[in-house]
Every structure is written in structure tokens, then in C-alpha cells.
Amino acid sequence: MTSIPEALLWCLSAGTAAAVVLAALLVRTHKQRADLRQRLTASEEQNSATLHSNTELSARLRATEAEIRHLAGARLPDLTMALAHPHVPVRGLLDSRFAGSETDHALTAVLEQIGQAVTSERQRVDAAAQSTLRGATTTIQALLYRLQTALQDMQHRYDDPQIAQDLLDADFLNEQALRRIQATSVVCGAWPGLTREDSYLAELVVGATSRLRGYERVQVSNQLRDPVAVVARAVEPIAITVTELLANALHHSHQELPVTVTLQQGNRGASVIIDDYGVGMHDDEIKHAMELLSGDDDLLLTQLGDPPRSGFAAAGQLVRQYGYGVHVEPSPYGGVRAVVYIPGDPLLTVLDESAQPMSVMAPLPHRAGVPDRSSSVLPTGASTPPPAAHAPSAVRPAAAPAQTAAPTPAPDPAARPDAPAAPAPAEGELPRRRRRKPVSEDEQSAPRAESIPPRSPEETASRWAALQQGTESGRAAAQSEPPRSPEGNAH
């Protein structure tokens, strides 16, 4: 019987033990479960965070790609356009959230690199084009000068009107070709290609007009007091500048309207003022012209437009190199006024007109017109004929007395008997040169000039008396001679 309770006891104890173990296991499982649940939550959270950041990253990637596409599709074309045309704006970032980020820096660096590369390549290509053109124009210019010399020689050689006409026409064509070639070569960085000697400003301006079609519309009025001349090195540059400004004036005004040029002498220099009465220029055209004329920037052929307008650009280059000034403004007459100011100190001089006569085509000083006649009448109207030495200065017709008489009327007539050859300059003033009488011609004209002043009746009588005496004595001599054959017959 004892076996049953024993067995029961065993069973019970085994059951208890199992229960304890199970309980312990249960507790442990519970713990693990809680732990797992916690972990699950955490990892779920992590997972969602990862997902979130993943979407964020992919969105950002798409934005960056869009930004790069924007760079390639919009900003780079903008940049190349802006390098050629400075007024074109370059667009910024597509997405403003990138501002200041690494992406922004990288993209900006790309733009800068490309900008530099494009600029330097453009300059290189332009310099190559300029040097090619320069080489060609320099040679052509030299050839055209030789042609000019040949044509000039032929003009002096042939008198026939028809040949002369052809020669003059050819000469004019050659001058126009020279002007174009010269402007182009100056734009390409060459020097003007010709050094002249010191030349009168009036002559220079007239010479500049002769290079243009329509030169007969240009009216030059000379207000210079002295025979002002431009020093040798600046003659051709200033001539080119005046030519180009005149070309602009002629081009922008109607074919029947005049273009007036005034030469004005200032205290410290001289000015050439060119006025046209044409359509004028817009504000931005004038601004562009002034930018070119200031000559500050390096010039690119690509900036000159098509067909290239090289006039102002050439003038600007020369202005920078030779140190005179050009100003363009809307004129009060509705057209354009261009002023070339030539500073007296390095660029002007005064020449002796007796040593170097001015060209006959140069306009006379304006002032010579009015006081001219009164002063030329005055010496010849005097009752006594002037002595022989005074004859040239007394009968010198045009501008010589007028130039000195206009500013200093009082001392001049008094000084004339003392100074036969040249009118005396007033104290403290610059010596004034006489106008265009070559020396040798003065000497030639002196004996001839004696016959011009009106003779008094007594003088006339004595001359006739001398003639009569001469013939009388001749007849007496003939009579006293041994008779020749015809006379012998008559006796």
C-alpha cells in the first residue's frame, strides 16, 4: 500500500519541480517577450526613420540632378551669352535651398572655370584674327600709298582734261580705300602707318575731309588766330580721328545737308568741332560711342558688329595712344556734335608760314574777311607811294595785315614803317606769322609791285619827259652817225 502514496509523493514532487521550473521559464519568457517587443518597436521606429531619410535623400538627389540639368541647360548658355553680351543676366540656382551649400559652391566653380576658358579662348582667336588682318592691311596700305604717289605724278605729267579727270577720280577712290584700310588696321592694333611732318591744323582737317565721299558737303570755318600746327607724330592719328567723326556725321545726315567743322583756338589747345544736322544718335548709341572713344577697354573684333563699324573704335584706340580727347554729344541743332580737343602742350606747335606755306585748299581764318579790306586799302590809299623796301608789305593783299590788325589795331599801323618785312608783334604776345607768301615770291614781286601804287602827276610827267628825251637823243645820234643805206638814199 505504501507504494501508492510514495508514488504519489514522487509524482507530486516531480510535478512541483516541473511547476517551479515552468514558472521560472515562464517568467523568463515573459521577460524576453517584453524585451523583444521593445526591440521591435525600436526597430520599427528606426525603420520608419530610415525610410523617411531615404525618401528625403532620393528627393535631394532628384533636386541635385535637376540643378545640374539646369546648369547645363540654362545657366551655361546664359553664361556664354553674357560673356558676349554683358547685358544678358545669368540665371541663379533652380532651388534656393541649395544656396550656400557644397553643391552651390561646386556649380559656381564650374561656371567660373568655363567663363575663364571661354574668355581666354575668345581673346586668343580674336588676337589671331587681328594679327592676320593687320598683316594684310599693312601691306595693302603701303601699296595704296605707292599708288597714290604714282597717281599724283601722273596728274602732274598729263594735262589732257579727260586723262586728268580719270586720274582725279582714281585718286579719290584710292583715298577712300586708304581710309578704310587704315581704320581697320588701327582697330587691329597697328600704328597709323605714316608719319608726316608738322602740319597745319586747317590743312589736316581739309585733308581729312578729302578722304570721304560727300566731302563737298563739309564746310570748314577756320577761327584760329595763329597758324596752329600739329606735331608730326600726331598728324595722321588726328587726321584719322577727324575723318571717322566726319564720316559718321556725313552718314547720319541727309545728302543735301551740310556738315560744319569749326576750328577753334583755346587758351591751352585747339578744338575741331564737327556739327551735323542729321537724325542724331540715341542715348545708348552715344553711350556706346563714348565707351569706344574713351579707348579704355581692350577691343575685340567681335564687338564691332556685322558689318563691322570700326570708326569710333579706331578713334578710341588712337585717343588712348596719343593723348588727345574726343567727345560726342547730341547737338543743339538736333544732330550730333563731335569735338576733338588737342592739348597744346605736347601736340601743337606754331609754324612759320613763310618757311612752310600752307596748302592752298586750307580755309583762311574767318576773321580775315572783315578787317581785311580796310587795312589793305589804308596803305595804298596813302598819298605818298611807299619806298621800295616797303612795297611788299604795303601791297601784300590779304590776311597778313588783317591777322595782326584784328587783335591789336592800334600799334600795327605805327609799327609798319619801322618793320618792313614782318608786322611787329605787340609786347607780351606770341609772334604772329605772316600768311602764305613764299619768300622767293616776295623777292620776285618786289620790283613788279612798284608799278602798282598810283603815281603822282609830277612823276608821270617826268617819266614821259624822260622817254621823250631818250627818243630825241636817239634821233640826234642817228643823224650824227654816218648815213646807212636807206637814209643815204633819202638825203
Binding site: D159, L168, D171, R196, E197, S359
Partner: protein
């Protein structure tokens, strides 16, 4: 007198006549004698014409001499002179050809005849 002839001209010859080389009268010659008509020089006279009148004021010159003084081709000066003659400011005289000059012998015989008449 011409120190600048070796240098390149600044003002071309065609500017003097506005490109014309055909004179308005074809009677002018290199040797035509020109003398001023003595009209007062007014402001409408162009500078180059004024210079010709100035040159001729002391006396007559031939057309070729005028051209040399002005450093201009004869053909151009012919045009200028023709204009001045047309305007009445200048008289031009055709040179007497060699063949038409008076025979010296005849003149001498006339002179002798006159002398014999007197005595």
C-alpha cells in the same frame, strides 16, 4: 621754297575743284598769261581761288607758273582759272604763237621809213 615736296601730300589735288578736271573753256594753255581783273575779293571766293588772285595781284603770270606756285597739277589749275575767268575776276590771254610774230625786218624798214620821213 619747296622743302615739303618730298613728303606725302596731306590735301589731294581733287579737293581744289571738287573732283572736276574739265575746264569750262578749252582756250587755256600752259602758257596762257593771266592777269587779275582787279575786282575786290569777296567772301564767296574759295581759298584756292583767292590764292590765285593774290599771286596775280603784283602782275601777270603764266598758267604754268601759277600751278607751280600752288603745287597743283596744271589740269586742276586750268579748271580754277576757267572758273575765275567766267566770273570776270581774271583775264587770260592766249600766248602769241611763234609763227605769227612780226617780222623783224619789216619792222626795221618801217622804222627807217619813218625816220627818213622826219628828216
Amino acid at each position: 621754297m619747296t622743302p615739303r615736296q618730298s613728303n606725302r601730300r596731306l590735301v589731294p589735288a581733287y579737293l581744289a575743284t571738287g573732283g572736276r578736271a574739265r575746264p569750262s573753256r578749252n582756250t587755256l594753255d600752259r602758257l596762257s598769261l593771266l592777269h587779275s581783273a582787279g575786282m575786290p575779293v569777296t567772301s564767296e571766293v574759295r581759298p584756292e581761288e583767292r590764292r590765285i588772285l593774290e599771286l596775280l595781284q603784283p602782275g601777270a603770270l603764266s598758267l604754268a607758273e601759277v600751278a607751280a606756285h600752288l603745287h597743283l597739277p596744271v589740269s586742276v589749275v586750268k579748271v580754277l582759272v576757267a572758273d575765275l575767268v567766267d566770273a570776270g575776276r581774271l583775264h587770260a590771254r592766249v600766248p602769241i604763237p611763234e609763227a605769227e610774230q612780226f617780222d623783224r625786218q619789216i619792222l626795221e624798214r618801217v622804222l627807217d621809213g619813218l625816220r627818213s620821213l622826219k628828216s
